[in-house]
Symmetry: C2
Subunit: 215 residues, 2 copies
DNA sequence: TAGATTGTTAATCGATTAACAATC
DNA sequence: TAGATTGTTAATCGATTAACAATC
């Protein structure tokens, strides 16, 4: 389906979720076709960029007409891979892990939560959101029995290294990483998406400062 | 102090927190000087980029020697504005708000938490982490009395619009935004840092898929 | 002084935007 | 057919990298 299976650039990849979200909203509002011009306007980007981005993957539009919202939304879902099921565990059930557990729309993006892990003995064995919290002793057995695809790491940086080592040994190669532990450098064959909340705080601090200076 | 007060590009701004974090680690390990070459190696970027980035703001290095770790760390802290106090509230005390409350190192980056807000009557009046949860009726008075600088929005997108309107009216111009409500478009004079966790999930899905395809 | 490494200018690379022929 | 809008190529813009003179 895709024009080039050649590498898609990160800027393009990072815009795909934005297209997806926008198209979901449009579809829900009952819009059934849209031009690159209008889509671009909504998303605050250029129409050229919309067409350029979409054509990395194939011609989804109708010349002289535009794009079918529902079709395009589905195509992008396929491109993103959010239409297939990815069995997932959360490792680290502190406040962050709990927020992730309750706040994330896992299923909406194909992530199926299969289990919770923590090494705090006070948590292990207790139930949360229908899951019994496991400890490391269950790791290997659990991962293979449930064919786990991805782990969400809600850990402090200090303990992340040891945990990743175990998860990697148990076959996990895909991580959503909230810690500052650098998975990619140590395990180059993993898919890693980092979420660095502290960097967001620092960036906000910078933006506040520079805005104030300009006024 | 800065060479040009001209606009610093977003890529550079987003690297500043990474430099800061790296320098903190180095300082804690007792390293007192570092060359652009070594710093670049640790951060997986080029030495050229390190020097180019730092020189957006001024000459922090010693020719023929390198950079003093402690000094550079402090300079970047100043650039980021994390060395000054920013009075902050959290609006939305669900799971996400709680995770933010307990998980974030606010003080480390100069954000001083001053209060919690929510409109759920069951939460309002209860105490959390030493703060009584307020409702909107206290908003105006609270914001001016405590000279609040920034709000962290831990809300669903549907309720974010109305809340931002109230916060804006109460004088708030700086937001860390976990919702998909587009603050910037509606209030262009605000400093906004968006954290879109659902986009991280989708990006991970894409990376998993494209990795698998290449193997 | 010689060696090292910065600050800075120039060259390259990649991403965004503009333009337009193809076509519905 | 005429009008609209895509797909795609070419032009522009900006960011990264390389090179080197300045200097500690």
């Amino acid at each position: 389906m895709s024009k080039t299976d050649g590498q898609i650039s990160m800027p393009v990849i990072r815009r795909l979720p934005k297209y997806y979200r926008c198209l979901c909203t449009l579809e829900q509002s009952g819009v059934d076709k849209i031009s690159s011009r209008k889509l671009a306007e909504i998303m605050n980007i250029t129409a050229s960029q919309v067409r350029q981005d979409l054509n990395c993957f194939g011609g989804f539009g109708q010349q002289g007409y535009g794009y079918f919202v529902a079709t395009l939304r589905q195509e992008i879902a396929k491109l993103l891979g959010i239409d297939t099921i990815k069995n997932t565990v959360i490792y680290g059930i502190g406040n962050l892990g709990r927020a992730v557990l309750y706040h994330f729309d896992f299923e909406k993006f194909g992530f199926q939560l299969k289990g919770l892990f923590d090494k705090n003995p006070e948590l292990v064995g207790t139930e949360l959101a229908g899951f019994i919290i496991n400890d490391d002793s269950k790791l290997d057995k659990f991962m293979s029995e449930n064919s786990i695809d991805a782990a969400i790491l809600c850990l402090p940086t200090t303990s992340a290294g040891a945990v990743v080592e175990k998860l990697y040994a148990a076959g996990i190669r895909n991580f959503l990483n909230f810690s500052h532990y650098d998975i990619r450098t140590n395990y180059p064959d993993c898919a890693v998406e980092d979420v660095h909340l502290s960097e967001s705080l620092m960036t906000l601090a910078y933006l506040m400062k520079s805005k104030d200076r300009n006024n």
